[in-house]
């Protein structure tokens, strides 16, 4: 393959190690993991979209799963850490998505021109629209003060498109609880947004 700048080859820390540090409440691990995942998710998103042409709508759950597989394949992540990983990946994906949406907004207002860009544009009735995404993103900062676990559920379900089974496993609760949490999150978010 012809290489091109941007292929960052800095040795990456072990994802599993980072997850362990996280469990030990090491805040700096969050930032490291974020940087690692952020770049990766963006890259995967780009290449996926580039490969499929521009008519494709990209299911975000594909992104986190692909990132997961990639880290497993290079030996940086334990298979056993899957749920834990998905939870953090979902949180990172929220930033990726929001940044894309904001960037697009900036471009429409005549900001910087980036050659290839990603967007969360809606094809009729599929997926969420830009405004909704930004609104939900901001409302989540309020929700974080009310019930942090709900934020995780929303990130996993809405931003990362994960299934209830996966979310339940990641949070260590039952699927029933996830369903109720999701219901509660939607109600609260709708309320926050309509206030």
């Amino acid at each position: 393959m012809l290489r091109f700048e941007g292929a960052n080859k800095v040795a990456m820390p072990q994802v599993t190690t980072l997850l362990q540090r996280l469990r030990g409440n090491d805040r700096s691990a969050i930032d490291e993991l974020f940087t690692l995942l952020y770049d990766d998710l963006r890259r995967i998103a780009r290449s996926r979209l580039a490969a499929n042409g521009r008519q494709t709508l990209l299911d975000t759950s594909l992104l986190v799963h692909e990132a997961y597989l990639k880290f497993v394949n290079v030996g940086q992540l334990n298979l056993n850490d899957r749920e834990h990983f998905l939870a953090y990946a979902a949180s990172t994906l929220r930033s990726v998505v929001v940044d894309f949406v904001r960037k697009r907004g900036a471009e429409q207002r005549g900001g910087d021109v980036d050659h290839v860009t990603l967007n969360t544009e809606v094809a009729q009735s599929v997926g969420a629209c830009d405004d909704e995404i930004l609104a939900v993103h901001e409302a989540l900062t309020v929700l974080a003060q009310i019930d942090p676990r709900l934020v995780k559920v929303v990130e996993m379900r809405y931003f990362a498109g994960l299934s209830e089974v996966e979310i339940a496993a990641a949070l260590g609760v039952s699927e029933r609880t996830v369903r109720r949490d999701w219901e509660r999150s939607r109600l609260l978010l709708a309320d926050i947004l309509s206030t």
């Binding site: 941007g6 292929a7 290079v74 334990n78 003060q145 939607r186 609260l188």
Partner: protein, 988 residues
């Protein structure tokens, strides 16, 4: 939105949240009552709650119902997002190769049919620049004239009608030089040689007044053949802003003032390509004139990184200013101070000085040209004085002495050389004398090896053979520079000794050395060159198969011409070639070559000679690689019979062990694993007796035994043995190895069969980062197994993605393809997705006609077919398939193991339906026993127990039935698999 909290305080939302949680947990029809009886302090939220709980199904039904999806959008204006098939200027885009801050690169071809050739089309981000088109035309002609084997051609550059610049470059498939050095673990010498290819290319361009300006590892690719290709020559200049570029010509730029405005613009540009800055010279940072000296500097940084694995300036790339300061102000550290120990030893001294000279801050103090830089690197490689070194008599004398210690034994000579500085004369005189003293010197040299040997790794003051050999190899290279014939001869003895000692990898350097000397100084056809080539090929086999094969092709005509004395060499070469051909899946060539080795051995050494037996064993092994099971067994049986005839009395015997192993492996491949077990037990015993230590050969023997045990269903012993082998390998070999992966794969296989999924996952993680040299088929089998592991963990997405990624390779291996389809069918069944399961099974059946598959795969296929029909209520068809898998397992396994669980459990269900609980009981109890032995409490154990309890109920054993039912429920509930969870909810 951000001020929402102001209108509705958080505390109130928290109360709302708590009430909501409560309200949602009660049944819908009781919520009205609950709302009516809210405690007084919560009454203020009653209306809100009522709205949420009672209307939620209507109003918010669509809200957030769809998760986010990303879509690429089309840019407005000229720079629309590109897509395959689109045209840019005269090019049609084929596929995106990469993208970054500077733009994108596409694989493309001309759309006007003038020349059919694929190019890498670079599409830089660029605002429209006046006069760009003219400038591109002008420069294109100059750059397109740059023809050199190590430079990727620029075919075309231009601007489309919409003002978009493009560059068409030669499409190079390769790896960047830094990662190439790393993945191939090149020794310093070869890194330097690779670097010399780079300097050749740069010097060629400089001679044509073209400066690269952007030399960095990412722009220097190495092809599969080890050839260097420089990318983007002069491209940096091409896409630069016209207003700046007009002031600069290719080489003779006029100096630019470093006024702040210009510097800033330039920095912004450079920091846009963050990595590039690390290789930029101080004058580039300062936006001053760029000359060949700038390329010399960048090459210095590149070489520094190649040799040490680090960049000279280490900083956090916080601000552009910090990097700028570092490059302008800091001196680069000595390369030897940052490199790892063994490398540092080599770098200390000459290489440190060479690099320092290349990376001087002042252009005038650097090498005047790339050639001068390259010349010093060559001096170093030859052990000659480097120009960059201080020009001192002491330095030269030391260099002389170190080159001549082999001959210069008297201290007087050394003393004279240092003090008088008449080194050259002395050296010449010495060379003349050396000719006559040759024989004596060899003797002295060998003697001195022993007397001067210092124990390094040996215990209790004992010198290990490998230490001795290592120091011998070092000294031969250093001290016998002037006696190439002797050096070659001794070197070849040392290398053979390394190989006999079981550390062939240590012989590589000395073999390269021997070869370099023997091809130059010895007659064209000689045994030393021949065996050096053969041995080097063997050492390089895994890492550089191309070169290995080239060496073999090279030596074969010579070896054939020198028969019969070279029969062994020639046969060995054919054998090695066979394995190399097998690695690239060339069955015809592999079989031809190994058959030729057999023929040679039989002709020159006899039909029952150890050599003939060995190559017959290899023949069997090669057939095995290509899944030719019948000829595999036939060749192995022939070899084994001959080995028993001639060597049975001399146990433990290497050749007999090998023949026995091959035969046992062939038995396993031919579904006769149970027969192989006693043979392999003896192999392990003999091997231990022979090697006395836990060598890798012992591990391999145990691994073969573990394989036979696992295949025969002796899971407990098989897994335990596989675990032991992996642990032994880890203990013995700190370095990652191919063995590590193979043994790990084997363990994973056992663990998956035993459904010890967490252990399997841990082992997969442990081996997946290991770099090894495995065949495509081995990797394929591993990936299919990984997919199965994902399925069993209910991670369908990862499983399917894994299989999708290997789809193309699977098509090449029909038997594995069928196995993968069965894995997919099983995965779907466990999700209760019987439609998908059937689709996969139909595909497997369709592929079955033409392909011979192993009994185990046939059993798996029948199991899944049977379980499918069972789930659809087609009991007659289910019975056909399940009886079939049962008969296969009964044949393969002396006693029932968990391998057969899915088949037996399915069959038991049929018999329950037929009200034959006694038969069901006979099928289920061994399965339940097997699970309790291997992995008690897992979902499959639960499944078997569940059906056992149903059986017991039918038999009227209600007490046992109740107990087992409860146990089964507990096991099944923990599973994430829908099929298992459904069973956990099943009523009595």
């Amino acid at each position: 939105m951000s001020t929402k909290t102001a209108g509705f305080d958080v505390e109130r939302w928290q109360r709302l949240n708590a009430l909501l949680e409560q309200g949602l947990s009660i049944d819908a029809e009781e919520r009205t009552t609950w709302l009516d009886h809210l405690p007084p302090e919560s009454r203020d939220l009653a209306d809100k709650l009522r709205g949420m709980l009672l209307q939620k199904g209507i109003e918010t039904k669509e809200f957030l119902a769809q998760p986010v999806a990303l879509q690429q959008i089309v840019q407005k204006g000229a720079q629309a997002a590109d897509a395959a098939g689109a045209n840019v200027g005269p090019y049609r885009l084929i596929a995106e190769l990469g993208s970054g801050g500077m733009g994108t690169v596409w694989l493309a071809e001309r759309n006007d049919d003038t020349i059919k050739r694929q190019v890498a089309l670079k599409l830089p981000i660029s605002h429209w620049i006046p006069g760009l088109a003219e400038r591109m035309d002008r420069e294109r002609d100059m750059l397109a004239a740059l023809e050199h084997p190590n430079i990727a051609r620029l075919y075309d550059a231009g601007v489309t009608e919409t003002g978009r610049p493009y560059l068409a470059l030669e499409y190079v498939e390769g790896e960047s030089i830094d990662s190439y050095c790393q993945t191939h673990r090149l020794p310093v010498r070869q890194r330097l040689e690779l670097f010399l290819q780079v300097t050749n290319a740069v010097a060629h361009a400089h001679a044509r007044l073209i400066v690269h300006r952007d030399l960095k590892p990412n722009n220097i690719l190495v092809t599969k053949n080890g050839e260097v290709r420089l990318l983007d020559f002069g491209v940096g200049k091409l896409i630069e802003d016209e207003s700046k570029a007009s002031n600069r010509e290719a080489i003779d730029d006029t100096p630019r003032s470093a006024d702040s405005g210009t510097a800033n613009t330039s920095l912004t540009r450079i920091t846009g390509r963050a990595i590039t800055l690390d290789y930029a010279s101080p004058e580039q940072i300062r936006s001053e004139r760029i000359t060949v000296a700038s390329d010399v500097y960048s090459l210095g940084v590149v070489l520094f990184e190649l040799l040490t694995g680090q960049r000279p300036y280490k900083l956090k790339r916080n601000t552009a200013g910090a990097v700028e300061d570092a490059i302008e102000a800091q001196d680069a550290p000595a390369a030897s101070s940052v490199a790892e120990k063994p490398v540092a030893r080599v770098l200390r001294g000459d290489v440190d000085v060479i690099l320092a000279k290349a990376m001087k801050k002042e252009t005038g103090e650097r090498y005047a040209s790339v050639e001068a830089f390259a010349a010093d690197v060559k001096h170093f490689l030859k052990g000659e004085p480097v120009v960059a070194q201080r020009d001192s008599a002491i330095y030269r004398a030391r260099k002389f002495v170190s080159r001549n210690i082999g001959g210069v034994i008297g201290g007087v000579v050394v003393f004279l050389a240092i003090t008088a500085g008449t080194s050259i004369a002395l050296w010449q005189a010495h060379v003349a004398k050396a000719e006559t003293a040759r024989a004596t010197q060899v003797k002295q040299f060998i003697a001195s090896l022993f007397t001067s040997a210092v124990p390094r790794t040996g215990e209790g003051g004992q010198v290990l053979a490998s230490d001795l050999l290592t120091s011998a190899a070092d000294r031969i290279e250093k001290e016998l520079v002037d006696q190439p014939e002797i050096a070659a001869e001794l070197g070849s003895i040392v290398s053979e000794s390394f190989i006999k000692l079981g550390v062939p990898e240590k012989s590589e350097r000395i073999l390269e050395f021997v070869l370099s000397k023997s091809t130059l100084y010895l007659e064209p056809r000689n045994r030393i060159t021949l065996s050096a080539k053969r041995n080097l090929a063997s050492v390089l086999r895994a890492r550089d198969p191309k070169r290995a094969e080239a060496l073999l092709d090279d030596l074969m005509p010579d070896a054939a011409a020198m028969l019969p004395s070279t029969a062994e060499d020639l046969a060995q070469a054919h054998m090695q070639k066979a394995y190399l051909a097998a690695r690239r899946a060339d069955e015809t060539s592999a079989v031809e070559n190994i058959q030729r080795a057999v023929d040679l051995a039989e002709q020159y050494f006899g039909k029952e000679s150890p050599q003939a037996i060995q190559y017959l064993g290899n023949l069997s092994n090669i057939y095995g690689v290509f899944s030719r099971r019948a000829p595999q067994l036939q060749a192995a049986a022939t070899a084994y019979t001959k080995a028993i005839n001639t060597m049975e009395g001399s146990r433990p015997n290497d050749d007999l062990i090998n023949a026995e192993t091959m035969y046992a492996n062939a038995l396993v491949a031919n579904d006769r694993a149970a027969e192989a077990i006693p043979l392999l037990r003896r192999v392990v015993e003999d091997r231990l007796n022979l090697d006395t230590l836990e060598t890798h050969r012992v591990r391999n023997a145990r691994s073969s035994l573990a394989n036979a045990l696992l295949t025969s269903g002796y899971l407990d012993e098989g897994i335990a043995l596989a675990r032991k082998v992996v642990a032994d390998e880890l203990a013995a070999n700190k370095v990652d190895s191919t063995d590590r992966i193979l043994l790990g794969n084997q363990l994973v296989r056992g663990l998956v069969v035993a459904k010890l999924l967490d252990d399997a996952a841990t082992e997969v993680a442990r081996i997946s980062g290991v770099a090894g040299q495995l065949s495509e088929l081995t990797n394929l089998i591993r990936d299919v197994r990984l997919a199965r592991l994902f399925f069993l963990r209910s991670d369908v997405m990862s499983a399917e993605t894994t299989l999708d990624q290997i789809a193309d390779t699977l098509n090449k291996y029909p038997a594995e393809n069928i196995a993968a389809l069965v894995v997919r069918a099983e995965g779907a069944r466990l999700q209760n997705d019987f439609v998908t399961s059937k689709v996969r099974l139909d595909a497997a059946l369709a592929a079955l006609n033409s392909v011979p598959i192993s009994l185990l795969t046939q059993a798996n296929l029948s199991t899944e077919m049977g379980r499918y029909f069972l789930s659809r209520g087609s009991f007659d068809q289910a019975a056909d398939h399940l009886n079939r898998c049962r008969s296969i397992y009964d044949r393969l396994q002396p006693s029932v193991s968990t391998l057969a669980a899915d088949c037996y459990v399915g069959l038991a269900q049929l018999h329950l339906k037929a009200k034959e609980p006694a038969i069901a009981m006979r099928l289920l109890s061994p399965v339940v026993d097997a699970w309790s032995r291997v992995n008690p409490g897992n979902a499959w154990h639960g499944e078997a127990l569940y059906w056992l309890s149903r059986t017991q109920a039918q038999l009227g054993q209600t007490v046992s039935a109740d107990a087992n039912f409860a146990r089964a429920q507990a096991m099944l509930k923990r599973s994430t698999l829908p099929a298992m969870r459904e069973l956990s909810r099943a009523k009595r």
